[in-house]
Symmetry: C2
Subunit: 189 residues, 2 copies
DNA sequence: TCAGACTTCCTACAGTCTTTAGGATTTCAC
DNA sequence: GTGAAATCCTAAAGACTGTAGGAAGTCTGA
């Protein structure tokens, strides 16, 4: 019997691709086994469990997102940087909905600490260096910016902005402008 | 054999309670059958499918949230109203994490249109009547406010604000102040 | 080259959940 | 009370997870 030539990375990557096609919650070890034309039990040599598979896909997505973010931020500052990072998240969610969903998976603290999640926090903070904020206001602002990115993308992906007038792209640009203005005038009263 | 006295509402309510205890994704028809000490097949008289159960729990949560929001908004305006509605979402998520998760479930368009989701959009729009905004800026602002509420609560629930200095409550208050200032100075440049 | 040692993949099986079919029992309305 | 409807059941099939233990490739070193 010829071997399929599997390994952890290939399995996880296929899982990520499958997630983008059919949804993150539809990614099962069984489905991946079918994809590789291999028996289910075989995949347990490459992945510890279903939960382990989910976690690895999440880590892959966080990593990809952090790389894209870092690339987008290079050489930019101020509103330019703000928009660039926001667009990275939004575009990634549209192009890779399954991976984006995976990236929201709640990780246990140790895993999270070792993940690219840390880089994400640093990137948002880096943006704020273009504005004039000091602690603890900077942290409040980091949280606000993170909330807007996360919330807007989730709502848009969930279809929340579908059935009404100004289209989502327009609102997105306006939201970025508003956020930029807010940061420039921080601290607010 | 004595009957358990089940009906749709009781089953869905028990599902919502179970969701708060063990997580929305752990709510299964099997688990509910165990809870009512009834065979699994019996529940299919009250619920069409697992998906139907999830949807009904989501609708329940959306409804409860809309009622709480409406009550909180009564007699308030401006920043008062903004904070009140934001706190409704945030407090609900903390007190009923499973129900809150259910409320994020993506509904098919017809179900969504008939749900309390519509009231939620109206409430956010009602808040903006306390500020001086006209279309299409008002819609952009509605989307921004929704994004912040949704994003902040999700990140906080996901543990995103745990391991660093200013505590989340402090940031939340600051975020509400910032949002209020932003709306007062809208349109921004 | 070839004998371990290791890795990869398999069969077999047990446990859980979903869903349907069809039958029995309880309850309600007339 | 009797017939209809609602409630609950047994039975069974199909899907997914996970474990145990075995066979067949693959690699390494003498």
């Amino acid at each position: 019997m010829a071997r399929a030539g599997l390994n952890s990375e290939r399995v996880v990557l296929a899982g990520a691709e499958l997630a983008d096609e059919v949804g993150f919650d539809q990614v099962t070890i069984s489905a991946l086994a079918r994809h590789f034309d291999v028996k289910v039990a075989s995949l347990y040599s490459h992945v510890q469990s279903s939960h382990d598979l989910s976690t690895r896909i999440a880590l892959l997505a966080l990593d990809e997102l952090a790389d894209l973010g870092a690339a987008a931020l290079a050489g930019r500052s101020g509103k330019d940087a703000l928009s660039a990072l926001g667009n990275v998240y939004r575009d990634y969610a549209r192009q890779h909905p399954g991976r984006y969903a995976a990236a929201q998976l709640r990780l246990d603290p140790e895993t999270a600490a070792a993940s690219a999640g840390v880089r994400h926090a640093q990137m948002t903070r880096a943006i704020l260096r273009g504005y004039d904020l000091t602690e603890p206001e900077q942290t409040h602002a980091v949280r606000l910016v993170g909330s807007v990115f996360r919330g807007y993308v989730d709502l848009e992906m969930g279809g929340g902005f579908d059935h009404s007038a100004p289209d989502s792209q327009e609102s997105w640009l306006r939201v970025l402008e508003a956020l930029d203005a807010l940061l420039r005038n921080w601290p607010v009263t």
